[in-house]
Symmetry: C5
Subunit: 89 residues, 5 copies
């Protein structure tokens, strides 16, 4: 999984019929020390994540293993909201 | 998903038999501030996207989850046309 | 899908039994303006592509969705020969 | 698979219901000479790996082939703890 | 598929139970002119490849399509030993 932060929303009225109700969030990739990268993924939300929150997202077919994304043309899902990152050297 | 813009079409008469009728669009990758990247993907269209439109595309096995791409040798599908990108800091 | 050009062949006598008869072509990645990249993928051919031809190839599990690649340990397939690339600004 | 070293833990209380009990470890990617890269993946543990240990992780749908990750929205799993890396020239 | 050369072995006693008997080989990525890249993948062997041999490996779910890797948490498999690379301009 990749660690990121929700930094926006993508609005799309015209979409594949299987995507009705899906919420597309912009996730900026972050390093483990919580410094931002200049890289972004658009992911569907399965946990009620809001702007500014640090999250984990899963990509590929694994992104379709939640109730919200099953059988949908979706390749990234936010599946956890991060409380804390505990780094050891 | 990746945000992009439709910048052309690839024409192919000779293709795998499962691909009859598929439309191959060129999608240039874009940043979240809608500045272009020097990176391109060829994707099948499932939403009637036209040249110049900003779109989302899904990659990998998720690209086969639309009516237009089911069971086809296709690894990228345009599944939404973007109305607006709402960035928060 | 990625746009490329067939620039060679890889010969392998000793291979997984499921790969009997598979033809491994070298595909050089190309930009949309048909300038070459310094990047290569080895793909199985499903359309009779020959050296010098511009092609599209699909990667990942989607590469197993042709008659020639079904259930085989193959992660890239040439699924179309390109007639023309039509770029719009 | 990619070789890495466990360098921390990500804590997440709010997560997809399928992820109850999953442990998210931070894996820093390493080179084959065991020098570190500046790249990280968050992976679920299936072998009881601890901080400081060198491990292998598998990504994509293959990450769902363990007892601990089956049918879960998880795209990386630690599936082996490394005893030794034997490099030949 | 990616072209590489076997340059070592990774030993792991403690591994997911589905991995009993799997042999983890280190594959250095090579260019088509057989010059080495500074990039490595750990792959399971399905063809009896030995140190120094040039091989092809398949990644992702396709890596699970051999007898040796079926249903296992493995994302890369060596599926062919290369006899010759025939480059055309």
């Amino acid at each position: 999984m990749i660690l990121g932060r929700v930094t926006g929303t993508v609005w799309a009225t015209k979409k594949d019929e299987k995507l009705e109700g899906a919420k597309f969030l912009i996730v900026q990739h972050y390093n483990m020390d919580l410094s931002p990268q200049d890289k972004f993924t658009v992911a569907v939300d399965s946990v009620g994540a809001g702007a500014g929150e640090y999250v984990l997202f899963a990509a590929g077919s694994s992104a379709r293993q939640t109730e919200q994304t099953k059988d949908r043309p979706v390749d990234a899902v936010i599946m956890a909201i991060i409380d804390e990152v505990d780094l050891k050297k």
